[in-house]
Symmetry: C5
């Protein structure tokens, strides 16, 4: 999984009906040093997060292995809000 920061959301009127009811968020990928780079994903939000929150994203067809996304054409889902990253020599609070 990758870690990213929620920076926005997507508004879409015309869409495949399987997307009805999903909130689609813009997630910017985090670098290993805690900065953010230009990679971003549109991810379906399974847990209810908002702007600036740091999240864990599952990519690919594994995204469909949840009750909500089962059999849907979704390749990226937010599966967790990250509270803290614990490294050997430092901790990064993300709240």
């Amino acid at each position: 999984m990758i870690i990213g920061r929620v920076i926005g959301n997507v508004v879409s009127v015309i869409k495949d009906s399987s997307y009805n009811g999903f909130k689609l968020l813009v997630v910017q990928e985090m670098n290993i040093d805690g900065t953010y780079d230009d990679n971003f994903y549109i991810s379906a939000d399974l847990i209810g997060v908002g702007n600036d929150e740091v999240v864990m994203v599952t990519c690919g067809t594994s995204s469909r292995a949840t009750e909500e996304t089962h059999e849907k054409p979704i390749d990226s889902v937010i599966v967790a809000k990250i509270n803290r990253l614990i490294f050997k020599d430092r901790e990064v609070e993300l709240e």
Copy 2:
């Protein structure tokens, strides 16, 4: 999912029969700053879009999780037309 802009379409006479009936569009990937880079995909259009429209694309085998693409050798589908991107400090209208 990724966001891109429709810039063209593909004409193919000889193709696997599973592609019959699909419109195949050329989608150029959008960068996080709203510019477009050189990455592009050929994506099956599920919703009916045209040149210059901004769309959301599902990649990989998740592309097959729709009624139309079920059991087909398709790894990229257009699943939504994007109307607006809402960031914390700005909105981008895409119509």
Copy 3:
């Protein structure tokens, strides 16, 4: 899917038996400006193409969603010969 040009083929004597009967072609990926870069794939040919032809390639496990490749360890298949790319302001003939 991606677009590429057939530039060669692979000869293999010792291989997994599931590959028997497949022609394996070397496909060089096309850039958005019509040039070719250094990315290439070995793709199973489902439609019968030859050197210099421009083709559409499906990647990943979607490659297995055809009658010929069903249940086989194949991650890249040639699913169409491309005749023409139609952009808003130009057409590219590929024959």
Copy 4:
């Protein structure tokens, strides 16, 4: 599969219930010369490893082909601790 080094772990309170019971580790990808680059993954630990250990990681939906991860939205799992890499002209001990 790729090789990486465990450099930390993730603390998450709000998460999809399918993640309950999984330890999520931060794995930094190894380069071919034994250095480590900036790519990293959050991987579910199936075998019990700790910081500084070198591990093998399976990515994508293959990650779900274990007893523990079956039908879960997980795209990266640690499947082995690497003890040694044996090249033609050198061996790299990783313990």
Copy 5:
């Protein structure tokens, strides 16, 4: 599929039991000009190859579509030994 050269193997004592019996090789990816770059994979060997041999590797969940790897957490398998690459204007012998 991609082409690579076997440059070593992996020794692992603690591993997911699904890996028992698999030889895990280090495969360095080949460039289109026949040189080798820094990308490498750990791939399960299905056919019995050794150092310096040039092989074809299937990636992703397609790797599980063989008798040996069915239902296993494996995302890269060696499916063929490559004997020759035939381009329009040259042949590359790989033995």
